[in-house]
């Protein structure tokens, strides 16, 4: 009996690595600390009522933001561990299999559990406010999406200390990801962690499409809608076409592993190339899904901080919509070298280059907007300006990769690693950070400290070039990706050391940002106006932080950049005050079902990960019961009385 338990524990818990024992201890300590604080200050009820059951899009946005920052930390630590291992030749800091696990979790976490939630954080923080809406179309579904993401992410992260991390790369190509080569639970964690959070992402896609199409304030025609909302629409259209493919792909991989199916196996008629096609049919659009909202953010920021209307509004919209379509026809550029006909390769090479055109149009539009503008270099603008050269270089190296014959040289080399980090960090991370700095005051009611922010900014930026420019050279020198060590004779030592130094500089930049947030909570400049940047769009017309019902009176939109026009008209004295009439506000009720249901999904995932079918069955029954219960709930909304609206507005310093 005792032997059995010991046996089980030694396979269940990951052992034999000081890093992991360290993680075990810190996880247990953190959990104890959280439980202690919640109990001591009697915060359980508050946590449940205000956060776990909330359907308020702004709070959901905040939770996404916190989760994504934590994941940025985890993914960043992975990155630093890899760079330490690669700093000098013949380092024995990580074992090869540990290195494999780390590059896998790093890539997966950064894209699916950092970039995606940070994007959803921004959707939630901004879109309804920008549209003049009181909420998203389906608040309950929105909460469900969040909790599915959260529990999927937790499941994935758990693999580090329980069962073992996946180590077949962030896209899990078979046969590496099949039972034969990945026998442990790690790969199952990968499948279920992503599957569960992916369902949440799909639901968010549907939710925001309907929100944007149907919830705009009266008068806001699509042709007057702010560009960030347009970018969200484009991104969500890609989500609804791409994520079902991912769902199927992961399910098939799971069937191969769990039920002995032969989709991607080497025997039994399976076809591993089919996996590559499927995963990249999702994977390529995925990178556009995360980058297009960043384009929207830059458009808002450039206009606001140049004090000008955005240049080429229509072409911006077209560019985003074209990207949404063409991004689905480029997937095969990820495996040019794996042998297909010349005409297929030519098709995908050309379509890849075509995506570059609308992107180029956008860059020029931003530059023209800045041209002769009165630019103020606040933090959001700094990141935007830093983005432009970074993205242009990244785009240029992307086109180099798209030249199919040349790709035989670059494929899977460090040149590629440098390229995709350039677009992902320079485009996605810089973009989202810019957006967070920009909209932070709207959510929290204060600005983030400029001085600390500038330190963070410069460390990130200089660090970025120091880290990734040498990698282009290393690629040319023959270093391929996923090497875990190399010898002195290769001549790669100097450049690798420089690259590692750069990575640590970015790490320092991140620490400055955390410090900046902590510092600003106490000392940050309070925003009493609701419009700290002299903004142009509707979200700046209401107090900061926005009250839970967003708009006391739903705005009537007449122009593009309506809030800016209103301010101009007020300054000119041509503004006609409309008598505002308060009405009771229709709001959704909180619900515990999303949280509970996501926990049951977690059980499903955890059960399948270890092959405990009984646990998965319990999970499914729970999920089902939650859906059933929800179907029978009719009393799901309420009205905020006029008096309460008046009181809330008064406490925020407004009269209505």
């Amino acid at each position: 009996m005792w032997e059995n338990i010991k046996d089980f524990a030694s396979t269940f818990f990951v052992t034999g690595d000081p890093l992991i024992y360290g993680a075990d201890v810190s996880i247990v300590l953190t959990i104890i600390a959280i439980l202690f604080v919640l109990t001591k200050y009697k915060k359980w009820g508050w946590l449940w009522r205000e956060w776990l059951t909330t359907v308020d899009h702004k709070r959901i946005g905040i939770m996404y933001l916190i989760a994504s920052l934590l994941m940025l930390f985890r993914g960043g630590v992975d990155a630093l561990l890899m760079r330490v291992q690669l700093a000098f030749p013949n380092v024995e800091f990580l074992h090869s299999d540990h290195y494999n696990a780390i590059f896998t979790t790093h890539g997966t976490i950064m894209i699916l559990f950092m970039a995606m939630p940070m994007m959803f954080a921004l959707f939630n923080m901004v879109v309804p406010l920008q549209l003049g809406a009181r909420d998203v179309a389906y608040p309950f579904l929105n909460a469900l999406s969040f909790w599915l993401f959260m529990l999927g992410a937790m499941l994935f992260n758990l693999s580090f200390v329980i069962g073992g991390s996946p180590d077949a790369g962030w896209l899990s190509y078979p046969p590496l990801s099949q039972n034969e080569f990945s026998p442990g639970p790690g790969q199952n964690f990968y499948i279920w962690g992503i599957q569960i959070s992916g369902i949440g992402s799909l639901a968010t896609g549907i939710n925001f499409i309907v929100t944007i199409l149907k919830m705009r304030a009266p008068g806001m025609k699509l042709s007057k809608m702010p560009l960030f909302s347009w970018s969200v629409l484009s991104s969500c259209i890609m989500i609804i076409f791409a994520f079902p493919i991912l769902t199927v792909t992961l399910a098939l991989l799971f069937l191969d592993r769990f039920a002995g199916a032969h989709f991607f196996t080497m025997d039994g008629g399976g076809n591993p190339m089919m996996y590559l096609n499927l995963i990249w049919m999702w994977g390529h659009p995925e990178v556009y899904i995360v980058v297009v909202p960043a384009f929207g953010i830059f458009s808002e920021i450039v206009a606001t901080f140049s004090r000008k209307k955005i240049f080429g509004y229509k072409s911006m919209v077209w560019a985003m919509m074209i990207i949404a379509v063409v991004s689905f026809f480029t997937w095969a550029h990820h495996f040019f070298t794996m042998g297909t006909s010349a005409s297929v390769i030519a098709f995908f090479a050309i379509s890849t280059m075509i995506v570059g055109i609308p992107t180029g149009v956008k860059v020029f539009n931003w530059l023209f907007t800045m041209y002769r503008g009165r630019i103020s270099f606040k933090q959001p603008m700094l990141w935007t300006i830093a983005f432009i050269p970074c993205f242009v270089i990244g785009g240029a190296t992307g086109v180099m990769l798209a030249v199919a014959p040349a790709d035989y040289q670059y494929h899977n080399s460090y040149f590629l690693v440098a390229h995709f980090h350039q677009v992902l960090i320079g485009g996605v991370v810089f973009g989202y950070l810019a957006g967070i700095y920009y909209w932070w005051p709207k959510l929290f009611g204060f600005k983030l400290d400029e001085k600390l922010g500038k330190w963070g900014f410069w460390f990130w930026n200089i660090g970025f070039y120091v880290c990734f420019m040498p990698q282009y050279a290393l690629g040319f020198m023959g270093m391929t990706r996923r090497y875990y060590t190399y010898g002195w004779d290769r001549g790669w030592a100097d450049l690798n050391l420089v690259s590692t130094v750069g990575a640590f500089m970015m790490g320092i930049g991140f620490i400055f940002q955390v410090w900046q947030i902590a510092y600003s909570i106490k000392h940050g400049e309070r925003d009493t106006t609701g419009d700290p940047w002299n903004g142009r769009t509707l979200e700046w017309s209401i107090p900061s932080p926005a009250p839970f019902y967003n708009f006391a009176v739903v705005p009537q939109v007449k122009e593009m950049d309506d809030w800016w026009e209103t301010k101009e008209a007020k300054a000119n004295g041509t503004y006609k005050e409309q008598p505002a009439k308060l009405e009771p506000i229709h709001m959704p009720k909180n619900s515990g079902i999303p949280f509970i249901m996501a926990n049951f999904w977690f059980l499903v995932g955890f059960g399948f990960t270890f092959g405990w079918v009984w646990m998965a069955v319990i999970g499914f029954i729970g999920v089902f019961a939650c859906m059933w219960a929800r179907s029978f709930q009719y009393d799901t909304d309420y009205y905020v009385p006029v008096e309460e609206v008046r009181r809330t507005e008064a406490s925020l310093g407004r009269v209505v």
Binding site: K214, I240, F243, G269, G270, S631
Partner: protein, 202 residues
């Protein structure tokens, strides 16, 4: 109208209608995503079409009469779900529930037939693990069957709600979505029948 608010708000009716409209649109988009899902499964099936790996082929094992019977049953159920919607539009709850019940029974027999078919195939030595072809077959056909099964539970829940609450803006929207879902499954089945069974035995 069955709303549970005790406030004197004049736009109540409009407001709810509008909200329910919104949910129908969302459901349409959900159906689009489900189309992509089935499209992907069809594509994998097409790739695996000839990957028998020395195992049995569809041509050898399919028994068309049973499948044709299932097809008729499902088509009929789609028709009866249409009749249910007609009854709803006439405001006749009893008839509505009755037609839903008929639809449900037909759906149930479809699922039973499918399970019987799967058992038969497995007894003939064609399982998920036999070859790429059968993996794709069970996944594609099974996913459709799973959808139908879920639809049965959904329908049961709706009948219970109709009994309790009658026809309101909310139940009306739910029935609309349900019938959309049910017709959609019918269309998927027609593709499935053609691509998997007809082309399989040809």
């Amino acid at each position: 109208m069955a709303t549970n608010h005790d406030h004197g708000h004049g736009h109540d009716h409009d407001h709810h209608e509008e909200h329910e409209q919104l949910k129908v649109l969302g459901f349409w988009i959900f159906v689009v995503t489900d189309c992509v899902l089935f499209g992907t499964l069809f594509a994998t099936y097409a790739v695996m079409m000839n990957s028998f790996a020395g195992g049995p082929t569809g041509q050898e094992l399919f028994q068309l009469p049973g499948v044709i019977a299932s097809t008729f049953i499902l088509l009929t159920s789609s028709f009866t779900s249409g009749l249910a919607v007609l009854a709803m539009n006439k405001g006749n709850v009893k008839q509505l529930i009755a037609w839903l019940a008929v639809t449900g029974l037909l759906g149930l027999s479809f699922v039973v037939l499918e399970v019987t078919e799967f058992m038969h195939l497995m007894s003939e030595g064609a399982t998920m693990a036999t070859s790429g072809y059968w993996s794709a077959f069970y996944t594609l056909v099974g996913t459709h069957g799973l959808h139908v099964t879920l639809g049965l539970f959904w329908m049961t829940a709706l009948m219970m709600q109709l009994k309790r609450r009658g026809i309101s803006a909310v139940t009306r929207r739910k029935i609309t979505n349900f019938s959309l879902y049910w017709h959609f499954l019918d269309v998927v089945w027609i593709f499935l029948f053609t691509v998997v069974y007809l082309m399989g035995v040809m």
